[in-house]
Structures are given as C-alpha cells and as structure tokens.
Amino acid sequence: MSDQTVVRRRVAQHSISDARYNDAKSQSQYQPYKDAAWGFINHWYPAVFSKELVETTTENEEELQTGIKGIMIAGVPIVLRRVDGKVYALKDQCVHRGIRLSEKPMCFNKETITCWYHGFTFNLDDGKLSTIVANPDDKLIGTTGVTTYPVQEVAGMIFVFVREDDFPLEDVPPLSDDLPFRFPENNERFPHPLWPDTPSILDEHAVAHGIHRTGFGNWRIACENGFDNAHILVHKDNSIVHVKDWVLPLGILPVADDCIQVVEDEKGPKGMVQWLFTDKWQPVLENKELGLKVDNLNGRFYRTSVVVPGVLMVENWPEEHVVQYEWYVPITDDLHEYWEVLVRICPTEEDRKKFKYRFDRVYKELCLHGFNDCDLYAREGMQHFYADGTGWDDEQLVSTDISPVTWRKLASRHNRGIAKPGKGVYGAVKTHSTRLKELADGKRPEYFVEQVWF
C-alpha cells in the first residue's frame, strides 16, 4: 500500500435556515459586504481635522512634528505631511523594508520625506524614490516609489482617497460622490416639512466641528448602529433626552414597502434615505406588557440616511440648522475610527463663534459624548458575536432590520472594491511581541502612529 491517505480539510460548517428574515438568498446578495471585514477601498475617507495637522515651522520643530501624522485606513498605512498649507498623503511603508515614515519624521526639504532608518527619500507629489541619503547613485532611485493618495481639505476636515496601488488616478471620483445627499437640490425628492434645509459640509461657509476616536470592533457593526431604527432604545435614559423632554420613541417600525429609498443615480453618492416621521414608519411609544411608556412632551424630528462607503447623516440633529455626520472608518478588521461631526452654515464671524461655543459647551458633552457614548458601548458589546465571523450567519434579524439589510445589499453593489486583509501592517497580526509590549505598557491600539524621539 503505497498510496497516501487522502484527507479532508477541516471545515467549520455553517448553515442558514430559510425561515429567517435574512435567509440564504438574501445573504448571498450581500456576500461582498460580508467579505468586507477590512472595509471598502477606493473611497474618500476623513483622515484628520485640519487643526490636527499644523505645519511644522522653524519655530515649533524643536518640540513636536505637528506637520506630519501617520494613520491607517482599511489596512493601508498613510503618512500625511503639510507643506506651505498643502497636504500630501503617501503610503506610510518604506519600499525598502517597510518602516513607517511617520514614526520618526525626517524631512530635509519641502519636496520630500525621508525614511529615518536607511534614508530612502520619496517625493511628496508623486511618491517616487528620489534619493537615498547615503547611497545617492543607487540604480533603484527613480525606478520605484510609494503610492500617493489624493487629498481634499474642506470646512476644517482633511479627506483622503484611499486607493489600491493600481487604482488609476484618472478614475478618482469627486469627494461629493462619497458624501451625504445635499439640500436644497434634493428638496423635491426628499421633502422635509418639519425642518429647514439640511446644511452640507460642501456648502459655502460650512463649518464642521467634531471629534474622532478609535472604536474597538468591526466598522460594519458600528455603521449599522447609526441608522438601525430599533437601536434608539439604548438612548432611552440619556440625559439630554430628559433635560430637553424629547419624545424619543422606544423604536420605529416600518409599515410601508417603500419606507426606505435607495439612491443609485449614475452620478453622485449611492445610498439610502429612510422616510422617518412620515406614515411609512410608525413610532412605538408604549409596551403595555412591560409597562413602558414614553411620556415626554417635545417632538424631536430627524431623518437618517447613509451613503457608501458608510457615511451617516442625521438631519435636523441635535438642533435645527445643524446636521450630524458620522463615519466608521475601518482601520483593521477589528478597529475603526469613529467620527462624529456637526456641520452648520456660519456666514459671519459671530456665527462661527456662537457655533463653536455651543459645540464646546453643549453638543460635545451632551450629544457626541453623553448621547453617542451609549452607541459605542452597544457596538463593543456586539463585537464578540461577530468577531469570529459566525455572527453574520447566526444573527436572527426582524422586520426593523430592513435598514441594515438594505444597506448591506446596496453597499455590496456600489462599493469600489473590497479591501484585502492588511499585509505587513499594524494589526495584521494581533499577537506579536511589540503589540503585546504596547498593551502591557498601557497603550491601547489606536489610529495615530505614536512618534518616537531619540
């Protein structure tokens, strides 16, 4: 008997019951979304607030390299540098041996950035290897380089188009394709009798204030929370709701087939708008069996929409003339950067001051923290169920989950690419020694690269 035994691979068996709301057929329609653990790539994402990238000058360079930041989005490490006001974004991984350039910023002029280990020097504008500090005649110079990323700075935010190395620059769409729907241009399509025109970050005089922090969990879990109309139960006991005596339902039920409108226009953002506070959705204010009743007095109308790659807009929130945007920017498959941004049109200096004051004194504490902190807890609580992949098969959805399921399907159809698991990057291996050392030293996994000084 010379024949070797043929052995079956070890497989985890999952199966999906047809009786479930999200049966096998429905799930297959959003398989690409299930595959997108590391996010969607070839999209615009917020990278930093403008105020977080302050140009390094001769006056401040002694202390901190404030003009250079290292971040990671969808498994792509990115270094940002501001020079003469303009922001450049390059792959933060030296072609030589993979060092992150941002870890110990080294720049000898305004046109390049140098790797602090062996001196490989890259052009900021096209990423080409322009010289090597101690090897200026090497044959490699000019023949290789790092990927560059288009950048756009608007209303105090810096956006980066996170692309695959071979995604052509001429195919890069305008930033507006990856931002929420705008008003008044959509007034007829999406009327809003209960509140004024929603501002956009792209409007003239738009001002954006907000915060971003690292969320521990997969970006999809976070994203689906924002527009899931049964999740508002987590906000039942929030201070701001009771201080302002807002009527926040226990949940909102879909009661019409067309309760969600999917937007798939050839040009512009792809996403969906929920017809909240119309007869297509029914607020639930009471559960008799449990003796629960919402008896607050003040109506609080809002509308949620979401566009690819995962941008939430809450119109008329937290107050009139203000809109809340949220991003859940994938970092790795178990980390994301949670962005909460409020936008208001402020034509005068006085308007700007007032909005800033209100942001600092009211919105930041009571809304972005007090209210939305509950969402963070809920998402982290859910992460365990999905972390090993089985949650996507085992979840048992109900009718209110029409919102996440519709989103999953449309995102499967309109993403510009599924990010591949990060290779040779932070977080690709969860348990190697430097990562454990950082944890032992009390440092959480995070979005920004910690700069070293020696």
Partner: protein, 341 residues
C-alpha cells in the same frame, strides 16, 4: 542526417524564446524540453490549445498527423505546435504572454461536496481540494476529471474562481450514456474522492483588457467559464467595465443558473444580461440563439473584447456577427466545447 533548426516563440507580452528543434520532432516537444512556457493539452492535434501563427520561415504538419486546423486556417499561417515540424529556422507568434504557460498542470485529489441536477441535462458538481492539495487556474481554463471506475478523462471549466479555492464548482452537461453523466447520475456520493488535473487551455480572461467593454456569449454549459470570468472581474477592484452576457439554451426548461446570473446582476450594476431560448420563449426571454440576441449597438467601443464559449456553430456565428459590428478579430476569444460520451 537529421538537422536541427532554431525555433523562436514570440509571446504577446514581447518576450521571445529561442530553442533548437530536431528535424522531425514536433515543435511542441522541443519547446517542452527547452522549458519554454507554451500552452498545450492533448498533444494530438485536437484541442487547439497550442495554436500559434507562423511568422517567419518554414514549418509544416508532420506527415500522418491529424490536425483540427482548417485548410484555410493553415494557409493563413496558423499551426498547431504539437503536430508541426520546422523545415528551416522559423518563428511563431502566440496570443498569450510568457507568464501564462508557466502555470503547470497539477494532479490533485478532490472530495465531492455536492451533486445537484439543475436542469434536465445539467448537473452542478461542487468539490473541495483535499488537505495538502492545491492548484491555481485562470478564469476560463479547464480541468480534466478522471471518471471513477472507467479511468477515462473528461474536461470541464470551473464556474468558480481561484478566490473560492479550495472549493470549486463545475456545470456538467449530461449526455445519454456518457461516462461522467452515468457516474454523476448513478454512483457519485458526497465525500467521494476524485482525481483532477489542470489547469489547461488558452481560453482565459485577458487581464490587460479588463478596463474595456466585455461581451460574453455562452451556449449551454459554456456558461461555466464565463461565470468564472465575470466573478473575476467583479472581484478585481476598481472601476468595473460595462459587461454584456448573452446566454442561451434550446428551450426554457433547459435553462439553469438563472439565480447565479441574477445575483451577479445585483452585485454588478454594469452587467447587462440577455437570456435566450431557441424556441417556446416565455416572458423575459429572447427567442433565438444567444448570437441573434447581439445587436449592432452592443459594440460601441472598437476595443471591446469578447469571450465565446459553446458549440462550434455558435462560436462561428458569433465571431462573424461581432466582426460585422466592428469588433477586432484579435479581441474575440473563443472555446468550443466538444461533447464526448
């Protein structure tokens, strides 16, 4: 006194390889000895995997060898390397790059996961590579599966892509008393082990054309390699090209995999499909062949690329029609499937 000639193969990516061929030896044998990565399969003048074009010099069919080339094709300079001998120093052009042929065929063991009849004469066979077994293939290429008990080989293109490996899927057309058909209908069992070898064939998705409009024409189980190609385009990130799939069977009852096609349409906003039947068309179906469903307006870009898979008459008709519509002949790739029972 046998005399050696210098033979050069020019690959589509600009790479050329020169080697010596003994007089009387087939150019293919010489190329294999010299480890030049040419594509081939049957080595008997039948499968056309080793098709090339004589560019310079003299090369003729080995006396007594049979060849599926038409006299007109031969006259145009087409040669099958496996049945061709060099009469002088000569060079041949091949339509694929030098990287392509380097994926050498592997023999692997697979376990049957499922066998499911999806139309009166079509079975869906899914398998999984055994532990420690692996191969890679290009979308459109085919595998040879040994029919258990009989030891004969049958060729099938996976409808899956290399992304889903170690799982693979095949669409098998059932033929009366066919070796594989009889096996699948009567004897195949889940967890049974099959022997498979591949990949083979020069019919595969051309990476370099992935940004131009694509037309796919599939007859019957010729759909399998086409599905693999469409899925590969879907899984390749970046802007998706416009795609048109024209798929046909004889009658509505013979159609299959319509759910799979519908799902691809859901995933790919740029994919248009036409489903055709030769007769008894019901609502939503085009009556006529998948070739007749092609319209002049389908070719708007002169760089459009087409992939055809099905019976020879369908391929000939589709090629004629697409050229008529302004397509470049060299951008039409085809594979006929040959029934063997």
């Amino acid at each position: 006194m046998p005399q050696a000639h210098q033979v050069t193969i020019n690959f589509a990516d600009g790479v050329s390889r020169t080697f010596a061929a003994e007089s009387g030896e087939s150019v293919l044998e010489a190329a294999i000895k010299a480890e030049v990565p040419v594509l081939y399969q049957c080595k008997a003048g039948a499968c056309a995997s080793c098709t090339c074009k004589l560019a310079e010099g003299d090369a003729v069919s080995i006396p007594g060898a049979s060849s599926t080339l038409l006299a007109s094709e031969y006259a145009e300079g087409n040669r099958l390397l496996c049945v061709t001998k060099a009469e002088s120093d000569c060079s041949f052009n091949v339509a694929y790059g030098s990287e392509v042929g380097s994926s050498v065929a592997q023999e692997v063991k697979v376990f049957i996961d499922s066998v499911e009849r999806i139309a009166p004469n079509v079975m869906r066979l899914t398998v999984e590579l055994a532990e420690g077994n692996w191969l890679e293939f290009r979308p459109g290429q085919f595998m040879q599966i040994t029919v258990p008990g009989l030891g004969v080989l049958r060729s099938y293109s996976p409808s899956s892509t290399s992304v889903t490996l170690p799982k693979m899927e095949f669409l098998v057309r059932l033929l009366p008393n066919g070796a594989m058909s009889t096996f699948l209908e009567n004897d195949a069992e889940v967890d049974q082990v099959l022997t498979m070898k591949g990949p083979y064939g020069a019919f595969f998705l051309r990476e370099e054309h992935r940004r131009v409009p694509h037309i796919f024409v599939a007859g019957g189980t010729g759909l399998a390699p086409i599905l693999s190609m469409i899925d590969t385009l879907r899984q390749t990130s970046g802007k998706k090209p416009p795609m048109l799939l024209s798929f046909g069977c004889a009658v509505p009852e013979a159609l299959f995999a319509l759910d799979d096609i519908e799902l691809r349409q859901h995933w790919l906003p740029t994919l248009k499909t036409r489903v055709c039947v030769d007769r008894n068309a019901t609502e939503g179906l085009h009556e006529g062949s998948p070739v007749s469903a092609l319209k002049e307006g389908d070719v708007t870009d002169p760089d459009t690329v087409a992939y055809l898979c099905g019976p020879q008459p369908m391929i000939d008709a589709a090629t004629r029609r697409l050229i008529e519509f302004g397509m470049k002949p060299e951008l039409i790739f085809a594979e006929q499937f040959v029934a063997s029972n």
